[in-house]
């Protein structure tokens, strides 16, 4: 008891309390997309996005890149980046950070499995075992780097507690501990709390399952990022397959090979790309590409967000819609 009190007195966030946190915990969210060389951020109030910053990697106080590199000397300015953004968009000083990371292949892991196959009885025990001894869970785990792990249900519900049956598919994902720690450390210098750290591909698949017609029809989704492509198959809203590939073409090829094995019926095909690439020419014709042209029809709205210069402009790139959707979850 005394230890708890002394720890509280030592660790209590005085600045946070004095900045209004004592009365209200409703805080704006800064949702960062962290790429290998690029950092973007959506600034959101209580009703969703209000501003968008498309190249924060140039800022002196930018968060670390997905490669683990810090852009410049952190915190050398008189004001933190978070403080600058909240001032620019006239939001409260206390903020939450959400990191969506396009991590290098060696720093991330995705897999669909069941507790039964993992020989675990619950999600908690599976997470503990993955943390303690990943080789035991995955058979051959090449990485010596410690990872942080999370398990989602087959609907990829980001906000719900996962308590699947032992034979139900679950989505396992992880990111290198060092990379996550660098974001936590940076958020600490900003005086911000952290909502979550999510791999880009998982965030996109969650968005797709919530916004595309995966309920009505089996779906094949390929997420193309700067670090290759991730292919996923949904059977009536349930994720049943996920795999990492080198390119979009490889991802669709892999999916085509698995369609029969996965017992998918006349699946719809979707492509979510971070950037417009020439690879589109090599992909199936009946494919729905989620891009600026059709995203308004999918998400039901066009995003008009203010930028640093003060003018509101349309932000219909898929990443902006993804970040805006995530801050509302």
């Amino acid at each position: 008891m005394l230890d708890d009190i002394s720890t509280f007195l030592r660790e209590m966030p005085v600045k946070y309390y004095l900045a209004g946190g004592l009365w209200s915990t409703t805080e704006p969210t800064l949702a960062f997309f962290i790429g290998q060389e690029k950092i973007e951020a959506l600034v959101a109030g209580s009703r969703g996005g209000v501003g968008y910053e498309s190249s924060l990697e140039k800022d002196n106080d930018a968060p670390p890149l997905a490669s683990g590199q810090s852009s410049f000397a952190n915190g050398t300015g008189s004001r933190t980046l978070s403080r600058k953004l909240t001032s620019r968009y006239r939001l409260r000083r206390n903020v939450k950070h959400l990191f969506v990371v396009d991590a290098d292949k060696k720093d991330r892991f995705f897999g669909v499995n069941t507790l039964e196959r993992l020989r675990q009885r619950s999600v908690a025990s599976a997470l503990e075992e993955m943390h303690e001894n990943p080789q035991q869970i995955f058979g051959s785990w090449p990485e010596q780097t410690p990872f942080r792990w999370a398990i989602l249900n087959r609907e990829i519900g980001l906000g719900r507690d996962t308590s699947p049956r032992i034979d139900e598919p679950i989505l396992i994902f992880g990111i290198a501990d060092e990379l996550c720690a660098s974001f936590e450390s940076w958020a600490g210098t900003q005086g911000a709390s952290i909502t979550a750290i999510l791999p880009l591909s998982i965030a996109v698949l969650a968005w797709c399952n919530a916004n595309l017609a995966t309920k009505d029809r089996d779906s094949l989704v390929v997420v193309a990022t700067g670090q290759g492509a991730v292919s996923a198959a949904f059977k009536r809203r349930s994720l049943i397959y996920i795999s990492q590939e080198e390119s979009v073409a490889d991802a669709f090829s892999a999916l085509e090979r698995e369609v029969d094995a996965l017992e998918l019926e006349w699946p719809a095909r979707y492509l979510w790309t971070l950037n417009n690439t020439e690879e589109r020419r090599t992909i199936p014709e009946e494919l729905v590409i989620i891009d600026e042209e059709n995203i308004q029809g999918i998400s039901g709205e066009s995003l008009a967000l203010q930028e640093g210069h003060g003018k509101k402009i349309k932000h219909d790139r898929p990443i902006a819609h993804l970040l805006n959707w995530l801050v509302k979850q």
Binding site: F8, L9, E11, M12, P13, Y16, Y17, G21, L22, T25, L98, R148, W149, A150, L158, G159, R160, D161, G174, I175, C180, A181, E184, G188, S193, I194, T195, A196, I197, L198, L326, Q329
Partner: protein
């Protein structure tokens, strides 16, 4: 959204921000600290005042030391002044004889012939002063004897009344007597006056400034 991939340490720290129990504890703590503000202000004020007092005390001690050093040089003079002060009861109990005589001379009517004026001190009390024991009088008696013509009336009584008015308050006529005779009647007046009264009525004037000494 669940805090996916956020470490337990960070989540534990974030609990301090969002848990109502911790926020209530922080509120109570801040409230308690806020209530201490007047006490802290008072303490600071007292400390400042105490410091000022100490500084002042130091200055006064220095000043006292300086005065004591100066006073040493005046010790002899002070001793002499004390002796003079010691004589005060003796000096106070005195009668300006010349003034009394002058007054009698002024007041005596022409048809009175004074044959005897006796001024004497009485009711002595001992007073101890530095140089010894003194017998200090508290009453002065004035006896005037003389003759007046047989047709003179009450001229001696007039003299007695006027002299009594001139003497200090508390003075009184102790005796008046008249012996019949031809061609002159012999009278005798006796008055008592206190020694510590003021004698302005006798024409004594106050010394106004010290320079007049």
């Amino acid at each position: 959204m669940k805090p996916h991939l956020v470490s337990k340490e960070v989540l534990a720290r974030q609990l301090y921000r969002y848990s109502p129990a911790y926020r209530l504890a922080a509120f109570l703590l801040f409230g308690f600290l806020f209530l201490q503000v007047p006490a802290v202000v008072w303490l600071i004020y007292e400390r400042q005042a105490d410091q000022d007092r100490r500084t002042r005390a130091g200055q006064l001690a220095t000043e006292a030391a300086r005065i004591a050093s100066d006073r040493k040089a005046l010790a002899d003079t002070e001793k002499k002044l004390k002796r003079i002060q010691g004589l005060a009861p003796v000096l106070r109990a005195r009668l300006p004889i010349s003034a009394v005589l002058g007054k009698i001379e002024q007041l005596a009517p022409r048809d009175l012939a004074l044959s005897q004026i006796v001024i004497d001190a009485g009711e002595f009390q001992p007073v101890q002063i530095e140089t010894g024991l003194f017998q200090v009088p508290h009453q002065i008696s004035i006896v005037i004897a003389g003759q007046e013509t047989a047709q003179g009336g009450d001229a001696y009584k007039h003299l007695a009344g006027k002299l009594l008015e001139s003497l200090p308050p508390g003075s009184k006529i102790a005796d008046t007597s008249l012996a019949e005779g031809q061609p002159f009647k012999t009278f005798r007046l006796a008055l008592n006056a206190p020694t510590d009264g003021n004698y302005f009525g006798l024409g004594v004037t106050k010394i106004l400034t010290q320079n007049s000494l």
